[in-house]
């Protein structure tokens, strides 16, 4: 007879971001019919003794159009001049097997609201460089108007260019350096 013990606690210690293998992004329904995605190139995240934190620089927003990159940084959207950083900090973390929930506060455009990041937790494993490595694939859906990101445009046939709901995603590779690192 065998038993399976579900893990209920995240590893303690300091886990730092491996930015090469991570990503912070967003996705929003565009033109009512498809999903448009963007990312932030400059960000950080850490898991320190069970507290997950992350920041992303608005100025590093990445989409495939320089006009839109510029517009996303203006007061119409994220307002990089006054609010250069997005931030998440967890208040509590629950782990049920590989199901991960981080309840905390998300700050966008100077507004801080409670959110739950949901997703999966994997590891730790020992990677090819001798590091201990965790993987988190997390997401939450927010209403962008709650954060004052309210730009929109009417479509000629009715409806609006951008949906209200935005999926926020964080795919985080977190490592603890090994002795040889």
């Amino acid at each position: 007879m065998s038993t399976t013990q579900l893990r209920t606690a995240v590893p303690t210690g300091i886990w730092k971001l491996d930015p090469v293998h991570s990503g912070i992004g967003f996705a929003v329904k565009h033109n009512t019919v498809m999903t448009f995605k963007g990312e932030f190139g400059d960000y950080d995240a850490s898991l320190v003794d069970g507290r997950l934190e992350g920041t992303a620089r608005v100025a590093s927003v990445k989409v495939d159009d320089p006009n839109l990159i510029g517009h996303l940084q203006t007061p119409d959207f994220f307002d990089a001049e006054r609010h250069p950083e997005l931030r998440f900090a967890s208040d509590s973390i629950e782990l049920d097997g590989d199901r991960f929930t981080a309840a905390g506060e998300l700050t966008v455009k100077g507004t801080t609201r409670p959110v739950e990041l949901l997703g999966t937790f994997a590891g730790p494993i020992t990677d090819g460089y001798g590091n201990q490595r965790l993987g988190l694939d997390l997401e939450t859906t927010i209403n962008r108007h709650d954060y004052g990101v309210s730009w929109n445009a009417d479509l000629p046939g009715g409806g609006a260019m951008l949906d209200d709901d935005v999926l926020v995603t964080a795919n985080l590779a977190l490592i603890q350096p090994g002795e040889q690192a």
Partner: protein, 187 residues
């Protein structure tokens, strides 16, 4: 603190220009509202004339004036339910080169007047939209003057002067809100 004022109407007796002149006279102490009077010199936008660092001289002058200003106040009439071509053309030039518009992050407000019964609200709304695309910090504060030929026939009444002063004050407030965090970060 300087607010550069642009009128979307070129005629000498323009109601919108008059609103800007009154706003200049009524502006709070320390706030200079300066009317830009050379919009007529701006050529029609042509991408072939839009050369990096060598835009038409009239465009460079407008952009320099905007760069020197702390905020922008636009007064617009409404032509065919939208922005007058003269104003839209100037803003299109100001938007170039991309991401380097002198109004980027600059507080901006739009007021409007027309001889019709709606006071140019659509033109004002579309001007706000365009300013947003240029990256300006567009304020909700506004003044709308319908039937301007009647309302302004014997000059501006005190209520209207107060409204214009409030818009200038709102712009000044946004300029202060913009400058203070920058100073805090620099110190």
């Amino acid at each position: 603190m300087q607010i550069l004022a642009l009128s979307g109407s070129l005629r000498s007796g323009s109601h919108n220009t008059e609103l800007l002149q009154v706003a200049a006279a009524a502006a709070p102490e320390g706030v200079d509202v300066v009317l830009y009077e050379d919009l007529k010199q701006i050529p029609p936008y042509d991408a072939e004339d839009d050369l990096p660092g060598a835009q038409p001289e009239a465009v460079e002058r407008l952009k320099a004036a905007l760069a020197d200003a702390d905020a922008v106040l636009i007064a617009t009439p409404e032509y065919n339910h939208s922005i007058p071509g003269v104003l839209k053309n100037a803003l299109d030039w100001v938007s170039r080169p991309i991401l380097q518009s002198p109004v980027r992050n600059k507080p901006a407000a739009v007021i409007s007047s027309s001889t019709g019964m709606f006071g140019g609200v659509w033109a004002a709304a579309e001007t706000r939209k365009v300013l947003g695309a240029l990256g300006a910090r567009v304020l909700d504060a506004t003044v709308t003057v319908p039937k301007a030929n009647e309302r302004l026939a014997s000059g501006l009444d005190d209520a209207l002067i107060d409204e214009l002063r409030a818009v200038a004050a709102a712009l000044a407030g946004e300029v202060a809100a913009r400058v203070l965090p920058v100073l805090a970060r620099a110190s």
